[in-house]
Each structure stands twice: as C-alpha cells, then as structure tokens.
Amino acid sequence: MRSLSGNVGGLDLQIPVILAAGILGTTGASLRRAALAGAGAVVTKSVGLLPRDGHPGPTVVVLEDGLINAMGLPNPSFRGFQEEIDVGRTGPAPVVASIFGSGSEEFAEVARSLKADAFELNLSCPHAEGLGAEIGCQPDNVEQITRAVKRSVDVPVWVKLTPNVSDIRALGLAAQEGGADAVVAINTLRAMAIDIQSGYPILGNSFGGLSGPAIKPVAVKAVYDLSGVLEIPVIGVGGISDWQDAVEMMMAGASAVQVGTALMGGYGVFQEIARGIASHLDRKGWTMEELVGLARRRVA
C-alpha cells in the first residue's frame, strides 16, 4: 500500500484516518485498541474540570442512517483522566485530548493540567448547558478560548466546530485567528426523536445530536466552505463510513478525516478506509496533495 503518512495540524499521522471524539475514548485501553487497529490518531472523550455522570438514558437513538446521542459529556474530570491518556499513548498512534469548559480560563486550566500529543477543543457539543456549542457558536468565544489554550500548551491545538450556525466559516476564521493548528468539522447536528407510543422524547435529555451517514452531505459542504477561506488544515468528520466517503471529504478540502459512528461496524474501519484511499489514488494516478481540495479546483 502506498504511504498516506503526513503532517496534519501539527501531528505526524501514519494514515489520515482518526478516531473521532466521544467514540470509545473513555478508557485508555479502548484508545490503544483503536490505535492498534490502525487509526492514524485517536481523540479521547471530552474531559473537563469536574466529574460529570452525563444525561439519564436513553442516551442514543439508533436510526437507519444515523445515530442521535445525548451522552451529556460524562467524564471523570481531567484529574482522573491522565492515567487513561497515558495508557492510550502506549499504543502506536498519537493521542489527542478532547477538552471542554465554560470559558477561556477553564479550558486553559484543563489543557495545562493534561499531557497529550495534541488538544481538540470541544466548542461544539450540542446538548450540554453552558458548554460546547452554547459558547462555541460565537466567533469571539472561539477566538478567545483558542488563544487561551494556545498560550497554555506547547502541543498542537485543534478546534472542533459546530454546524448549528448560519455560517461556519466565521467560526473557522475565529479559530485560525486565535492560533489554532487545525479545525475539525463538523460536530453533530441538533436533533430529536419522539416515541409515538407514549409521546415522550426518547432521549433522557429530550434532544441530542445527529451523527452518521445522514449528516455526511452537511459535513462535506461545511468542509468545502471552511477550506475555501482557511489557511490552516481542515479535518473532516461527519458520516464517514467507508473509503468513498473519506475520498469525497478530502476532495471537499479535508486533509484528514475522523470516523465515529461507523465504529458501530467494528474497528476494521480505519484500515479499510486507508486501503481504499490508497488504491483510489493508485487507480487515478493522483497524489494526496492533488486529492485534497480537488472539488474546488474543478470549479475554479
């Protein structure tokens, strides 16, 4: 297989396929397992200043073409989490710590207290009060928080953006202005499901965020828009289940992709996607540089 390795957002990746935040990243052992299965990097579940149990169940609704979740940022706090990161780092891929907070100071405190290969700022979780997208939908907040974390750590900082805004480019530009090494787009779309037998909203939190194949076209457009205005790399995430999805996301402008919901089908997805991208490049005679952002150049 041809090499797909390269530097994306300040991290050297063997393959540009990454375990997305919130998926299996609760324990060091599961992060290591994803790395051993071939992930180019692994992102932890988001951690914050204080322990949180998360929302009551049900926490997921499984649809034919997607998953609605409202986990509610459960985490043992950064104090309990360093050990998990350390176990994760015994695997063969860099570990990116996803962190959240209520503002610049909290973000910076959590980041300063953790040792990881990079940080991903969760400014996009759609179902936690006063956190995630509730602050991350304002470009000013994104810029300030990014800057505060960049000043606190000496490893790359990625910023994960919410699509639940009128123009995601403003958030991407704010992250870049704050010094981000890359943006990650997109987090889940606000969503809800209601039980028709009883009338209860199914999720314990009433609403949540939609992921999976259903949101891929939305993610492709967000990545296309962001890559058109940013100088920093865009990491594409949202509904990628196979190599064709990954190639499409890269053509939209993603330098790497993250995979989340597709892990429902097992850990083999990282290798399958990487092999598929490599074969497609071989068939077409393209390089990675030629693939990334090809769609924009086609219509230029």
């Binding site: 299996l24 322990p51 169940g57 034919e64 998953l67 037998q197 199914i202």
Partner: protein, 266 residues
C-alpha cells in the same frame, strides 16, 4: 427515516406491553411481555422506563425479564402492572454458547435469571444440567423450582437459613468438576471472581455473563470498555470467557457513569 440500524446491530425502542408481573421475592419480580423477543440466553435488552432512565436487563425467558429493585429505574419499574408498557431495545449482546454434554450453572442472587433461561435451552438440546445457586438468606431465594426442574440443584445461603451454609463456593466442593464440560456464571462480580479463581485451570471453559455501566448499548460510547483489552462489554459481551477476565479490571475495579474508577462490589 425508518427505524433500523447502522452496521446491522440494534434497533430503536419498541413498545413492550406487560402481560403479567410475578412476585419472586420481596425485592425481585419477573415481568412477562405480551410479545416474545426471540432472544438467546445471556442476551439483554435496554429497558426504558419512560421519564426515568434506560437500563440493561437480561432475559430470563423469551418473553420475560427478572428484576432486582436496586436503583431509581428498577424501583420505578416495580410501580408498573399488567397492561403498562416500557420501551425495549434488543435483544442485544452475544449471549452464552452451549458447549458439551454436561453443564454447570453457577448463579448468585438475581444472576440466576439468565441461567434458568439457558438451562431450558440446554435441556431442549439434550444436555445434562446441574445448578449451583447462592443467596444471602432463605427469603431471597428465587427461581429455585424452575432450576430444580432442569436437574440436580445445590442451594447455598450466606446465613444457612436454606441449603448449604456459606457462599456459592461452599457448594462448589459438592460438584465433580471433572465431569463438567462447561461452567456458566452469572451473579455479583466478587462471587463470580471467587468462582473463577477457584477454577483458574479451566478458565477457558467458563462463560461469565458480566456487568458494566452501559449507556449506548451499541458499542460506540466506550463507557463499558473492559481493561486491559478494551472489550466493549455491551456489544462484544456481556458473556465473556473467563480466561479473558483473569488479568484485568474484572474482580478488581470498575468504572461508573462518569468513567471514574470505583469498587466492583455488588
């Protein structure tokens, strides 16, 4: 969007109407549903007590679950009667696999429930079934007559108020393990850990139905991952061969809803 599954796993909740509630003991009840769910023993469902929470429950038969009231959701469940409904997701997980001709069921407390279901299937397959079941005291004993109907039964109670006095391990001495092809285990973690440790040399022939904090139940959220391999207990379990439990967290610690590490008692 039609309800269904990504990767062919779980479906969205269906409405489970309760047909009958059987009082098994002060704290244990069996809920029978109008429609069976085609589960295999050891599989579970996510039971949504609407407005309260969603919790995993093993099947104690094709159409039923046997529940010990221990928390908010299980207590809310006990307020329900025939005609009331729950949201059900499942069957989920792998379930036990039947191996050999002579099997031993080892259960503690309400952990005997999936074993009774397994015993029914084993008898249908012509296997010889011995049951070793343990409870705190005589008034906690459940599903005894059902298990007695399957073959030899050894009962233990911690206080000696029924059967052999002591833990389940006290009854283990009364079984000739050389005669047993496979051991099936379900109950409190430290009870299972004790049995596994006493039978370490045959750990490859013990199937344990274990418990971790399940949230998504479809193998993506990571809350139930088991050290050191990162086994997703909700999707790859809940039945795990004991040899994969020997050198990790099982019997030593487990994570709670936040992911914080705590005791594995209870």
């Amino acid at each position: 969007m039609r309800e269904g599954a990504i990767g062919g796993t779980a479906a969205r909740a269906t409405d489970g109407v309760i047909k009958e509630v059987i009082v098994e003991s002060d704290a244990v009840r069996t809920f029978c549903f109008q429609e069976p769910h085609s589960p295999w023993p050891g599989q579970y469902m996510m039971v949504w007590v609407r407005g309260v929470d969603e919790i995993p429950m093993s099947f104690s038969g094709p159409d039923r679950m046997t529940v010990h009231a221990v928390g908010e959701a299980t207590r809310a469940l006990f307020d329900l009667q025939a005609g009331d409904a729950l949201g059900l997701r499942g069957p989920l997980g792998n379930g036990f696999s039947l191996v050999g001709e002579k099997i031993l069921l080892v259960g503690g407390g309400v952990g005997v429930a999936p074993l009774a279901f397994l015993g029914d299937e084993a008898r249908k397959a012509g296997m010889e079934v011995t049951s070793l079941i343990g409870f705190r005291t005589a008034s906690d004993v459940v599903l005894k007559s059902r298990l007695e109907g399957l073959g030899e039964l050894i009962l233990t109670t911690d206080d000696g108020s029924a059967g052999v006095k002591g833990f389940v391990s006290a009854g283990l001495a009364k079984v000739d393990l050389e005669e047993v092809d496979q051991i099936y285990l379900c109950g409190p973690e430290l009870m299972m850990w004790d049995v596994i440790n006493r039978c370490r040399s045959r750990a490859d022939r013990i199937q344990a139905c274990i418990n971790r904090y399940f949230k998504c139940a479809v193998g993506v959220c990571g809350s139930c991952c088991l050290d050191p391999e990162g086994i997703r207990v909700c999707a790859e379990g809940p039945v795990i061969t004991a040899e994969r439990l020997l050198e990790g967290e099982f019997g030593r610690y487990r994570r709670g809803p936040s992911g914080s590490i705590g005791s594995c008692q209870g």
